[in-house]
């Protein structure tokens, strides 16, 4: 959510240019937020994050005329992303599935993991699968603020603005989401504190 001051000051100009039909201006906006939106959609829905992110940006462009360019764009964009993900979950177009079902993602996990031990790799892969399953089992109501707070680093105030809920409710939803995640992972944590 945090962006450099140059980008923040340039954003109203970019938005105006994009509204006027400037493809390069809109391309810059997409480049700025594409990874955040994809990450959010991936954690909310699990699969087809790229397609969903594209749909979010299309919706953003269609609604950009109505947006007050003096305000920050990120909460507006995340509201669109949230509503779109909720719509998809409600329609059950995409059944919420674990994230790394894609072999490409699994490959990436292995590349990113610095520890060379094969046992540790298997452990980590299993744990990640468990987290993915746990996330899929958490209701979207709790999943969304949990992802926004922990993954995107959005403040409580901004989450409250995005989801149009009081801050107290957001805090409670995040706590409940964490509790649910914890309950799903308890079996992987043994008494002495070591994993698995």
């Amino acid at each position: 959510m945090t962006q450099s001051p140059e980008i923040a000051s340039d954003m109203p100009n970019l938005i105006k240019r994009a509204c006027a039909g400037g493809e390069d201006a809109f391309a810059r906006i997409v480049n700025l937020y594409r990874y955040s939106v994809m990450r959010y959609c991936a954690r909310m829905i699990g699969v087809s994050a790229e397609d969903v992110a594209q749909e979010v940006f299309i919706k953003l462009y269609l609604a950009l005329d109505r947006f007050d360019s003096s305000k920050p764009l990120a909460p507006f964009l995340f509201r669109i992303a949230h509503n779109h993900c909720i719509d998809i979950i409600k329609k059950k177009e995409i059944k919420t599935t674990p994230l790394a079902a894609d072999p490409l993602d699994e490959q990436e996990i292995q590349i990113k993991d610095d520890s060379p031990g094969p046992e540790e790799l298997i452990q980590r892969a299993e744990l990640q699968k468990a987290v993915q399953n746990a996330m899929a089992a958490i209701p979207a109501l709790y999943r969304s603020p949990l992802v926004m707070w922990h993954v995107e680093g959005i403040s409580y105030e901004e989450i409250a603005e995005i989801l149009e809920l009081p801050i107290g409710t957001i805090k409670a939803q995040i706590h409940r989401g964490r509790k649910m995640l914890q309950q799903k992972l308890m079996e992987f944590v043994v008494i002495n504190g070591d994993l698995m």
Partner: protein, 188 residues
């Protein structure tokens, strides 16, 4: 164990980054003696760490270009649809106007015409009545002129009564015999 609930709240504060150093030290020292809390906190932290570090596939190179192209196409489509909608609306309004005009000409206007004609007829009937009254008045004036001063002399004794006068006018015999002075008095 009794105050584990307090430490569970502290765990949440620690994850929210709102707990201060002394709170974190207290939590650490509690977890050294309470294995359940240690396990819970470990699970909490593990879940959050894995959630944060979970990899997401990098967008493909063409992602931005494709998205921009699709967004602009969607916008053009939306504008075209809006234009079609506005044309459809205008067409529907034109058809509705035609129906209204046709309805006006076929039903409402003839009705109004009949009503206006009725009003004119009523007026004309009034004019007929006025003509009748005019004739009556002229006849009476003529009568007064013929009878001369006798009628004026008789005025003082009998007050005029409109009903009797009209009755008398309708019934010619009685008019001439009984009420002639009253009629003259009324119209003079």
């Amino acid at each position: 164990m009794s105050n584990c609930k307090e430490y569970k709240n502290l765990m949440q504060s620690a994850l929210d980054c709102t707990a201060d150093e002394s709170d974190l030290r207290r939590l650490d020292s509690h977890m050294d003696v309470c294995r359940d809390c240690a396990r819970e906190f470990k699970a909490l932290k593990l879940g959050i760490d894995l959630l944060v570090s979970m990899p997401v596939r990098e967008p493909v190179v063409e992602f931005t270009a494709d998205t921009v192209r699709m967004a602009f196409a969607a916008k053009r489509k939306m504008l075209r649809r809006q234009k079609i909608d506005s044309w459809c609306f205008s067409g529907m309004m034109a058809i509705a106007s035609l129906f209204i005009i046709a309805g006006w000409n076929m039903t409402i206007r003839p009705g109004i015409r009949v009503a206006l004609l009725n009003i004119v007829n009523i007026f004309l009937e009034w004019r007929t009545l006025l003509k009748v009254f005019k004739k009556v008045f002229s006849a009476l004036v003529e009568y007064v002129i013929v009878t001369g001063g006798e009628a004026v002399k008789a005025l003082a004794g009998s007050p005029p009564c409109i009903f009797r006068i009209l009755y008398g006018f309708c019934n010619n015999d009685s008019f001439h015999t009984n009420n002639r002075y009253e009629v003259i008095a009324l119209f003079l």
